[in-house]
């Protein structure tokens, strides 16, 4: 395969996955460069996990070409398995074992010599700050600690690529930040490619490049900054006494489209908000009750592309429920 760019560690071409008539992944093409953080961003059911599972050799594809490190996912599974680390969306630790035992079993499966295994276990545990709890049963860990241990385990065999499927799902904001700190630290200290998924828009900003995926299709792929630049400037949200009239007025003076936002607000985009707002308030034909301006986020990019918010308000409650249910189903 000569047409493959030497810097691309993952190449996906026209990948399709169908589940009994449902197209979970619908003809996507992208590549991941060596040593970058690549993010898959999309709402629930977009096809993120399905794509990762195919790249990781856990799921067969319906059609398309997928290679990782030059190996074909359909034919050279073991070669691929040897060079990837995986942190699944759903917990996959053995909670009746201690952290060290979990790592020990993992190391055995990768044929790491016992002498090296001990040292490496200590190393990865230290990296995620779990050294002091290494002999406790995983059962006694908090959600965030479990996640950190899973990351440590994913790194134990020194993979070339680490997959993180929703690494912060169901965690509280503080713990989420910590997890991202580890990921950034990891990126700095090791030569490693990271492929992550999330539907927390803000969090994927640490990625070098992001693919926004919706209903099985990639609808945008670029650096976070470039994606945000596709939005025409800052986002202004206004609460007024008379939206209809105001919308018409804004359209007239700015030429940009005005949308209805949450709680009776309207929103639109403008290039230079700081000079626009004072003028606007002075000249507005309608009384303005509140106005705010902010830099665009990836969420706005998604909204712009699809007309929908990436996360419904209750999504995180649902994720939590899902985590708990999964937890209970294990024996």
């Amino acid at each position: 395969m000569n047409d493959i760019n030497a810097n691309n560690i993952i190449e996906v071409k026209n990948l399709v996955k169908e589940f009994k008539g449902l197209r979970a992944v619908d003809d996507i093409t992208f590549s991941v460069k060596e040593n970058e953080i690549f993010g898959f961003l999309g709402p629930n059911g977009a096809g993120k996990t399905t794509t990762i599972n195919i790249i990781c050799t856990l799921l067969s594809k319906t059609s398309g070409e997928v290679t990782l490190g030059g190996y074909n996912v359909a034919r050279e599974r073991n070669k691929i398995r040897n060079c990837i680390g995986m942190v699944f969306q759903d917990p996959s630790l053995d909670d009746r074992l201690t952290a060290l035992e979990n790592l020990y079993f993992h190391g055995l499966l990768y044929n790491i010599p016992r002498s090296a295994l001990k040292e490496r276990s200590e190393e990865v545990l230290k990296m995620v700050n779990l050294s002091s709890r290494k002999n406790n049963l995983v059962m006694t860990y908090s959600g965030g600690m479990k996640r950190r241990l899973e990351i440590a385990r994913g790194l134990l065999h020194y993979p070339k690529i680490l997959f993180l499927d929703e690494p912060t799902l169901g965690l509280d904001p503080q713990t989420r930040n910590k997890i991202w700190d580890y990921i950034i630290k990891l990126k700095k200290s090791k030569n490693i490619t990271i492929f992550l998924t999330s539907h927390y828009m803000e969090e994927t900003e640490i990625c070098d490049r992001i693919a926004i995926i919706d209903e099985g299709k990639i609808i945008a792929l670029d650096t976070p900054d470039n994606l945000k630049n596709t939005i025409g400037g800052d986002i202004i949200t206004i609460l007024s006494e008379e939206n209809v009239k105001l919308k018409k007025y804004i359209k007239e003076i700015t030429g940009s489209d005005v949308h209805d936002a949450k709680e009776g607000e309207i929103r639109f985009e403008i290039k230079d908000s700081s000079s626009f707002i004072p003028k606007f308030i002075k000249n507005s034909p309608v009384k303005i009750l509140s106005i705010s301006a902010r830099k665009p986020t990836l969420n706005d990019v998604f909204l712009d592309l699809t007309g929908r918010e990436i996360r419904e308000e209750n999504a995180s409650a649902r994720d939590n429920l899902r985590m708990r249910m999964r937890g209970r189903m294990r024996h």
Partner: protein, 256 residues
């Protein structure tokens, strides 16, 4: 090759470690056999005098190998079935991305489940003095061997079913419509040679009845209780195990 052996060992060791850490499970697993043996068994045995049969003591002796068989049956079947939910929700997902072949995973799981079943069965043997069944060293090892074979047979069946069914809901159905009938029609609780014809036929295709038969032979060696010669028991159990484990690792290795 060495890598695969380590893989088998790892999967096995994990199951054993988990087992010994799960005290509630160990204790709970004795509730059922004790109930069967000392409540149901004693009750039925004492009813022999009411209905004017022979001595009830023989019945308890007859039933004892069946209860050991029951323990082995349920333990190995459930550990084998755990391969399903472990795959969806647990540790096994992680194993599936490691460079270990699917066959090694299946073999490790089979050996793990069978070892645990064997240990559980051996603990039930501790009740044998209460029933005045003498268990010598030699008999003990014979029983251990047979328990292991029976456990393997049942575990392979469990893995095949698990790979085909793949849903937790179907699990209850399997327990009620397959496992319980298999147990009742295995000759564990009553002799099968004097019952109605259809039961006799079902017993012939039920692999567990060969296992119970062999177990009874090893423990009691009473020709009146034997259905088949020992060699036939062993051949049937071994063949089912071989066929089912090949089928099981094939089915388990299939990708979705």
């Amino acid at each position: 090759m060495k890598k695969e052996l380590i893989g088998v060992y790892t999967i096995w060791l994990r199951d054993i470690k988990r087992y010994f850490r799960d005290r509630p499970r160990i204790i709970a697993s004795f509730a059922q056999p004790i109930l069967f043996l000392f409540v149901l068994g004693t009750g039925i045995a004492s009813s022999f005098s009411t209905f004017g049969g022979g001595s009830g003591g023989d019945f308890l002796n007859f039933m004892f190998p069946g209860i050991v068989g029951m323990t082995v049956l349920f333990t190995s079947f459930f550990s084998a079935m755990s391969i399903v939910w472990d795959r969806e929700f647990g540790f096994l997902r992680e194993v599936l991305v490691t460079p270990i072949s699917r066959t090694s995973i299946v073999v490790g799981k089979l050996l793990g489940g069978s070892t645990i079943a064997m240990i559980q069965g051996a603990i039930i043997l501790l009740f044998s003095p209460l029933l005045k069944i003498p268990i010598t060293f030699v008999i003990f090892f014979k029983i251990i061997g047979i328990m292991f074979l029976v456990a393997m047979t049942i575990a392979t069946l469990g893995i095949v079913l698990a790979s085909v069914i793949k849903s937790m809901q179907a699990f209850q159905v399997i327990t009620n419509f397959l496992l319980m009938p298999m147990f009742f029609l295995s000759g564990a609780l009553f002799p099968l040679n004097n019952t109605v014809k259809w039961m006799n036929v079902v017993a012939k295709i039920n692999p567990l009845s060969y296992g119970i038969d062999a177990m009874r032979f090893a423990m009691l060696n009473n020709p009146a209780f034997q259905l088949y010669p020992l060699w036939l028991d062993i051949v049937v159990l071994a063949s089912v195990t071989v066929v089912m484990s090949i089928l099981g690792s094939f089915l388990f290795g299939r990708q979705d």
